[in-house]
């Protein structure tokens, strides 16, 4: 009985610590995307530079659709270098498209001027229609679409190097990884 009382400490501490630990790595707001394994929604939108871009133009190439906003801080600020690095690294093998989520072009441009514009296109989704088609609940959210136009992966919340590598493996041909 005397010795047994020492069990009290791990019995109280361990469950609480384990429970709180289990909270890492999952986001309480995350909902599994029903889009995974299905064709990505089609779109035709104007970029920040004023050019019209369509989903068809990306057909046959793996691409990443990243919903972001200038007011989404620090998450969108944090993940920006990861997208920029992927854009740099994969070049033509991968297309990255940013989509402004409830944001104005002028605020977005001011944002991009800060960490340095990585050079990939950003779509102005003024009506929010594309965000609705993709089922975006809040930025940042990133969708990974393969060369056949099928959504293979989604990241809810800011990208990290490991999340990026893991999801890109789902859409990039082995030779390009």
């Amino acid at each position: 009985m005397r010795a047994l009382r020492w069990l009290l400490v791990p019995l109280i501490v361990a469950p609480l610590a384990l429970l709180l630990l289990s909270g890492f790595g999952r986001d309480p707001r995350e909902i599994a995307s029903p889009l995974i394994g299905r064709p990505a929604p089609a779109w035709s939108l104007v970029t920040l530079e004023g050019e019209t871009l369509t989903a068809d133009a990306l057909a046959g190439r793996p691409h990443v659709v990243n919903f972001w906003a200038s007011w989404c801080i620090p998450a969108c600020v944090d993940e920006h270098p990861i997208l920029a690095a992927a854009h740099e690294r994969y070049g033509d093998a991968l297309t990255i498209v940013g989509v402004l989520y409830q944001d104005t072009p002028s605020d977005a441009q001011r944002f991009l001027a800060r960490p340095g514009d990585a050079g990939y296109a950003h779509l102005v989704d003024e009506s929010g229609g594309l965000a609705i088609d993709f089922g975006v609940t809040g930025p940042p959210e990133t969708f990974f679409v393969d060369a056949e136009g099928i959504v293979r992966g989604k990241v809810f919340g800011p990208l990290t190097d490991s999340l990026m590598a893991e999801r890109l493996a789902l859409i990039l041909p082995a030779a390009n990884r």
Binding site: W6, L8, V9, S22
Partner: protein, 669 residues
Amino acid sequence: MIPTIGHAAVLVGLGLTVYAIVAFVLAARGGDPRLATSGRRAVIGSFGATLVACGAMVVSLLTHDFSVLYVAENNATTTPPFIGAISLWAALEGSILFWALLATGWASLVLWRHRERHRQLMPWVGATLASVNAFFFAVMTWPGNPFALTAPAAAEGLGPNALLQNHPFMALHPPLLYLGYTGLAVPFAFGVAALATRRLDTEWLRIVRRWTLVPWIFLTLGITAGAWWSYEVLGWGGYWAWDPVENAALLPWLTATAFVHSAMVAERRGGLRIWTSALVIATFVLTLVGTFLTRSGVVASVHSFTQSAIGPWFLAAIAIGLAAPLTVLVWRLPELIGGSRPAGAVSRESAFLFNNILFLGLTFAVLFGTLLPLIVGLTSGDTISVGAPWFNGITVPIFVALLFLMGVGPALPWGAARWSTVRERFTVPLVVSAAVAVIAFGLGLRAAGPLGTLALAAFVAAVMADEVVRGARGRARSRDEDPLTATWRMTTRNRRRYGGYTVHVGVLVMAVAVSISSGLAVDATVTVAPGETARIGAYEIRHERLVIEPLADDARVTETRAEISYSGPQSGSLRTAVRDYPNSPAGIATPAVRTSLGEDLYVTLLAADPDSGAVTLHLFVNPLVVWIWLGGAVVGIGSAFAIWPEPRPRHVMVEQAQAAPATASVERA
């Protein structure tokens, strides 16, 4: 330059704190007593260093130094100085810096105040407080550096948190709450010191009486101010939503309140010692758990901070902060058992015991509800949320039982109560309670919840009033004083008791106001074109016009505003608006609240059509809401009265001399 000074100050603080831990532990283990003195100086030095760091941050914010990441993310060149200064606690890193300032401040104050006394306890108190502070310095040094730089520096920052800009309460609510949170480390430190030194008598309890009540007052006021802010800003017509961030503040408040009560029994009657020690540990750990929940992004919350790397650090701190003192507690368990004088089933001790069981039950319920999304996520992988109906259903009966005990407890004698005492004490209050219920019913109050709460509150108030009148009359007779003098002298000579009563009165006022405002509120959603009217309760609302324009003091913010006139019990005009901040996804509501002692008229703008000028409004008539804040103020005043220092030491002697016969006469009666 300034950010470098700030960062250097944090590092100096860390160094001093680590030194203080070593010095205090050596002093505690029988080392040179001068080690304790130097440890104390190191802690005070760490407070100075944090003050410098906070100063550096405020200067960086005021000078818009966007080379500092925190400033770039929370400030813009257009930010007014006042908002810039209070942005110190607007986001994660800054709030930890501010937290460290208050934590080192409390530690310095305690160590300085007791520098000449309690030579066994103080080194352990210092070591514990310095260990807690070391955690915050470590967080600021590694994962949450407030002075992290960006290169190249941005030309313009992203601007302060929109919610912070929108209401001056943000200048008040976080500091009050943090003062409460950080201050609760002090009773924890004394509890650990008492366990470590085996000085398990009532010494530490007497010392921490004030050191618990002062942070408790801040926590109470902080929670009340938070509810008030939520009511005035968030625009949903309510003040408490059982959001994790609210629960995070409530949890340590519940255990601290239980501690305040159980400490009285431990001090007066020698009982509940293990319990009381466990409560200080729980209170401190819950402040960490609360901070962890709101700052790690583990639980979804309306205003939690973003997910960040500090989560694992907090988790480690919780595990150590729980395991270490718990180990000491288990070690001393054999010495803590026993020591209480026997008490009857109907006695003040048993009332206190029930009070503690109920507070603990509330704590478990709220903690369970807050953590349930995590538990479900762990077992089934589903995402769930636990809403207000669940919390209300489980906590309201416990709150009602606590209210009842609040009346019964103080009227029962220590030891054991005789049936004749019980009958004598409770007959009049029961009659008063029934009379109040009948009158309220006669005046048209039909809802069972508010009616019951009102009757219960009347019972409790009558018990206390009876007690005060009885005591004052006795004093007036025996000392030949007039009734007013007798009452004043009686209450100021036993501040703890009558301060406690005042706190209870405040709680009663809050309970009635909460019950009536939530039970009898009416609301309606209406869409009105300019010139049209709508009715809510006894009020007629007329939509005069819709205005959409930039704010006068910040052109980047667009205000969509409905200008409304109203007539009824009161009449006048009001403006309800939604403000669009450039760095906030959703508009920030600026509800119009017309407050009176009887009821609030509360109008939120839900939607506006710029072409026709028509607006959709959510109208509320919330009765008695202002009494919640007033009740909170009474709680604050009552607890301040309870801990008010005695003017001369002579009075302490008088109080003690009087306390004994007073108790005796209660037991005789």
